[in-house]
Point group: C2
Chain length 134, copies 2
């Protein structure tokens, strides 16, 4: 029984690695597709690096939400300026979920609600793009 | 000599895994931060699933570019509709690079230029957000 549980754990750990390691050979016949929740924040005080760092700190608290598979926080990258690039925002958030249920659970999670209560004073605008991996 | 090369390869593979496996313990003292190139495409014919699938196929060709660490393609996810969500686009592209040089190399790579030549007829608008992970 213990041996069987261990085998299941190993199988599950291998499956997890298969979807996250770059160019890994899939360990499952059907690879799990992610939901990507991509958020861009415009600060009320775009010139304040203090406000920016405070918001970054806030976004990082969302990593504790159970359904979050991966969460990265970004600032505008110093890539070459081109017409198609929007670089007017200040902080970006990229969250990966296993499925739509994970995203829905995130929205109502107390940690997310606390984040909105405590940090929404910092931003003037938010734009969200929710992608389903194909 | 062969043994030493193998050791270097293993060390490099472990470093790569450290930045991509969820919640992995960092294998390096300084973790490598990614550049995320996030692109949203609006189709000329938003109702055409044929055009959408053609563009998805095109975006996937960009995976062959050497500096691309990871590339995922998405369509609008069926998350709950909220005011902050922009769901007017049709195809999303998320590319991770190791650094700014990787993104710059991608822009001028022949595979990328071919993609623009062959597929730009399909879209009416593109918006790009380039994030530097913090």
């Amino acid at each position: 029984m213990i041996k069987s549980n261990r085998r299941r754990f190993l199988a599950s750990a291998a499956g997890l690695a298969a979807v996250t390691v770059v160019n890994a050979t899939p360990m499952r016949t059907k690879e799990k597709k992610s939901i990507a929740h991509q958020v861009y924040f415009w600060l009320k005080n775009p010139g304040s690096s203090e406000d920016r760092d405070e918001l970054i700190k806030g976004v990082k608290t969302l990593r504790k939400i159970e359904s979050v598979k991966k969460l990265t926080v970004g600032v505008v990258a110093a890539t070459e300026k081109r017409e198609v690039i929007d670089d007017t925002w200040s902080v970006s958030e990229l969250v990966l979920f296993n499925d739509l249920a994970g995203e829905a659970a995130y929205q109502v999670d107390p940690i997310h609600l606390d984040f909105i209560t405590n940090y929404s004073k910092l931003w003037s605008k938010v734009v969200v793009y929710d992608s389903s991996e194909v």
